[in-house]
Symmetry: C2
Subunit: 354 residues, 2 copies
């Protein structure tokens, strides 16, 4: 089993984490290594295990509890393991998303023995795949109490800025219908693809909203992400499906988002196929406000959906805060500016030190 | 080997042909049976063979030569072999497309020993699949002289009416392009599917032409037959392809058809992916006019593309004329009104008898 030194420079620890491949579904080796390292090097923590997720927590009786979470899994490797260092940059699969965040958390776990708030550290599996396999989802289902906290910090890549709350996402299929006919005698038919022009016109005419919540500006968007119609090269198509994705600000709940999309496409056949609510930033909660102050950063809105929303649904204020440029996630050239790793450790230590 | 009685009632002969399965590429058994029957029962004919195509011809030194052709292959069987008779209807795979036509031709081959025009009868393979495998295509390539004629009659199903010439067909892909972005930050991208609205609007605004040639009205059509765009459910698509099919009257040649489509979609990226010219009806040619008179029918335009166009390209006037409802072709319920078989034999005998 690979041996991890949690007390080493977190940049080196990040490289060591990257060098243990952990594509979603195949995190056991890395989870075992993290668990063993915590057991040996952070004896002040209580350890818990759920599948390939490892939890470590203090039980100091503090007034507040802060949960820090990072997923151990990565997207498939693209010739970018093992890691390599080029000056200030560390390259490799997961350097940004999110083994640099994991390294920050694991290093703090071992070196912050007397934190101001009780801590729960969660290293979990299967974040990069469908929601049903998500390790946090499993823990929420089977050990809801393990997630108890006053603030959750997800160490997802944010370039070491604070991204608060997150937008919701709704997916819907809008179907236009017609009547099949041989394309040589098209007047016997009715073309469902031609009818989809009206759906696309609605999208072209749509003006997305911007909303300011707690100083974070959420910018919505309504986009076709797929269009598909056609039976054969000599047949007038009788069906065309436009799949749209609505990213909505967290002042709308799921029902309001659906009502809005139905209004935009009034008169069309529409089926909602996916709906995940967003999360309000919750920055006025005391623990969140204290963290923001420690970072000295101005929080901004998170546009993508993240597990922040899961904590929001549990009534726990949650933010994304971690090293790494999110635009480099899932790319072959994935890398992290190692100074952000050092900075993130310093900021979190300032927030959590006694 | 199945034995075919060419001198029997052509309705029974049609049933016998249907009962020898001959899905495209698997016509050898039927081609062998046809060849053997012609050899035994039509000794006045010269026999030629190319792959699974059988040709039989007279060499009487007549002034004109009429070529009669039928394909032996069928689309895949759909629980509709063997044939079954219900009153005047004969059911089974190929009853319409086009073993009833084959039965008419084979019966005439054996029973019309002294025709007014020299005859070439062609029973060929692989008409129902891609053009490159078409038996007539192979014969044209390898034995161009075998197809020499003053008139070609394709016994494709026309409900025993005369369908003259055929429309051409052009397929083109019109591509709109954009810039990918995460759908949560869609303003960084440019949506190619939204851009396709303008392509569909052109189609919706298009008015198809009708043209009268030799009394046949050709009705054109321009239809989207496929639309496809989308990268992933959370990505703004950077490409959308609309495939259109233009069916054009035979007064336009291929180049004119392409120029027209390029004009309609002026300003868009367009690639022609398939182009087959049509065929002028050619009904003013003497042999064609004589045949029309023998049928007593008013010719109409053929909308679908057929091998008629191949003969037109060779400078040979060609018509479709055969028993069977073309709308029943390729259906599970395929059947032929047997009276059309009897009628077609009578009409062709009237045209060809001395």
């Amino acid at each position: 089993m690979p041996v991890l030194d949690l007390t080493s420079d977190p940049i080196d620890l990040c490289a060591a984490l990257v060098d243990v491949p952990s594509v979603s579904g195949d995190e056991a080796t890395l989870a075992d290594a993290v668990e063993l390292a915590l057991q040996k090097q952070a004896p002040h923590l209580e350890l818990l295990r759920s599948g390939d997720a490892v939890l470590a927590r203090t039980n100091l009786g503090r007034e507040r509890r802060v949960l820090l979470a990072g997923h151990l899994d990565t997207v498939p490797i693209a010739d970018n393991v093992p890691s390599r260092r080029e000056g200030e940059l560390l390259y490799g699969c997961g350097t940004t998303d999110m083994k640099s965040g994991d390294a920050v958390l694991a290093h703090l776990a071992a070196t912050l023995t007397d934190p101001r708030h009780d801590l729960t550290l969660v290293f979990y599996d299967c974040e990069e795949v469908e929601a049903a396999r998500n390790g946090l989802n499993r823990i929420e289902r089977e050990h809801r109490d393990w997630l108890r906290a006053d603030l959750a910090i997800l160490a997802e890549p944010t370039n070491a800025g604070v991204e608060a709350g997150c937008q919701g996402t709704l997916r819907a299929e809008i179907t236009t219908r017609g009547r099949r006919a041989h394309s040589a005698r098209s007047w016997h038919g009715s073309n469902a693809v031609h009818a989809a022009a009206a759906v696309l016109e609605r999208l072209n005419a749509y003006t997305a909203r911007e909303v300011d919540i707690d100083g974070c500006v959420y910018r919505e968007g309504l986009q076709a992400v797929r269009i598909d119609g056609g039976v054969a090269m000599n047949v007038v198509p009788d069906e065309c499906v436009v799949t749209v994705n609505f990213r909505f600000a967290p002042d709308r709940d799921g029902a309001a988002a659906e009502a809005h999309v139905r209004e935009v496409f009034d008169g069309f056949e529409l089926a909602v196929t996916d709906l995940a609510p967003g999360a309000l930033p919750g920055l006025t909660e005391p623990a969140a406000a204290e963290f923001i102050a420690a970072t000295g950063a101005t929080p901004s809105a998170k546009f993508g959906w993240t597990d922040v929303s899961r904590f929001a649904a549990l009534g726990i204020p949650a933010v994304n805060y971690g090293p790494g440029d999110p635009n480099l996630a899932h790319t072959r050239e994935e890398h992290v500016d190692t100074r952000q790793i050092t900075d993130a450790v310093a900021v979190l230590r300032r927030f959590l030190a006694p």
